[in-house]
Amino acid sequence: MAVLSGGGSGHEPMHGGFVGVGMLDAACPGAVFTSPTPEQMYEATKAVHSGSGVLYIVKNYSGDIMNFDMALDLAAADGIEVESVVIDDDVAVEDSLYTQGRRGVGTTVLAEKICGAAAEEGYDLKRLADLCRKVNENGRSMGMALTSCTVPHVGTPTFELGEDEMEIGIGIHGEPGRQRMKLKPADEVVEMLLEPIIADLPYKAGDEVLLFVNSMGGTPLIELYVVYRKAHQLCQAKGLKVVRNLIGPYITSLEMAGTSITLLRMDDELIRLWDAPVKTPALRWGN
């Protein structure tokens, strides 16, 4: 069983840094913030297919969806069984009736780790795809930015943000979020990110959760720890048990300063698969 993902570049280490034992079998990078092409995905599919099928983990962006759809058609024509699961966990997108829908963000990293471990355990394609959907259904994220980012071939910042401003609900390509406002203390920012996440699923007292605090690229670990501290306190106050965590730059937006928080509701299966050994350039533990 093989697990494949991909998307525009600029989010490193996702996805290339997650290729290795216990996570992805292949990653397809596009140009910066641009979906890769079906040809790339199709070639990668053929390269990793070992006879039992391939799972595509796709973030919910129109380009990624269309290109992975075309790759799936090409693979199907070769008789390769492919299941494609879309990650759409960004609660910042409220009006999903008239948009592409929620964006795929932090939960993608967790889904890749968990599904990679399940593939190692020998899950078949159907079970693997169901597991990926379960991760998506139980994961929610929201991010914020202190600065814009600059796509290299454009050369100017993707959006303008004043020195004393921040954008709450930012996407990983600099898409705008819910609102722009004056800077506030970190603890208040964490509340603004975590409250909508907790309200959305909803998570309830007693739930076991994985708390993932991510850097958008330009925010150092020390600030992520400040964010994590408050997020952990807020989870405790709601009766959520933080049973696992992940802190660091894993799904970035070039050099953007900012952070995102992801909460994943865990169960025994997810905890076992999260703890399983992983050996990739960006994520490694266990033997």
Binding site: T37, Y61, G63, N67
Partner: protein, 204 residues
């Protein structure tokens, strides 16, 4: 007055030129409501098309259009790659083994291309996408040169009509109301292709 292979080659070459000249303009439009890569992506795609055309000198129109579609799908990426790629592949399927298309056949092929884009992208009229320029451009029952001029004019209007629209598809849709007041970059590149068609597709 038919659409010939010579006309199609000129159209694609003029399109590549127009996209290169408007690369920064498309990028600026995209930076305002998208992620600022449309100009670079379309330019890269049509340069790949020009390379493929060198091997297409003796091929029928179906083969030429399909090769153009494949070149775009495999070089552009993003959403524009599959959408423009699908447009040209559908043109190719509709053109078949013919070396030239009558005006009626051209209109049918063009409509098949637009339908393909709608099916692939699931966007409709008024969603602030390339569909707003393309769907305006189907003009029937006119001599070809006049039909192409009308199509380009209609596409220009369709493109400008996207300015007040609130995006409902693609990355601009996340902006909601904030997307109003900006011209859609995809509708703009579609207009550039149709303007190039009016300038070149029938021998001048």
């Amino acid at each position: 007055m038919d659409v010939t292979r010579e006309g199609v080659f000129k159209w694609l070459e003029r399109s590549a030129q127009a996209l290169r000249e408007n690369r920064d303009y498309l990028t600026q439009l995209d930076a305002a409501i998208g992620d600022g890569d449309h100009g670079a992506n379309m330019d890269r795609g049509f340069q790949a098309v020009l390379t493929r055309l060198k091997e297409m000198a003796d091929q029928d129109l179906g083969t030429v259009f399909k090769a153009v579609g494949m070149a775009l799908v495999s070089s552009v990426g993003g959403a524009a790659g599959p959408l423009y790629g699908t447009f040209f592949m559908q043109l190719g399927i509709a053109s078949g083994a013919k070396a030239a298309l009558t005006p009626e056949e051209w209109v049918d092929a063009f409509e098949a291309g637009v339908k393909g884009v709608i099916k692939r992208g699931k966007a409709g009229p008024g969603d602030k996408t390339m569909i707003d320029a393309l769907r305006s451009a189907v003009a029937e029952g006119k001599p070809l040169d006049e039909a192409l001029r009308l199509a380009a004019a209609a596409a220009e209007k369709g493109m400008k009509d996207t300015i007040p629209m609130v995006a409902r598809k693609g990355r601009a849709s996340y902006l909601g109301e904030r997307s109003a007041g900006h011209q859609d970059p995809g509708a703009t590149s579609s207009y550039l292709l149709l303007r190039a068609a009016a300038e070149t597709l029938v021998g001048s």
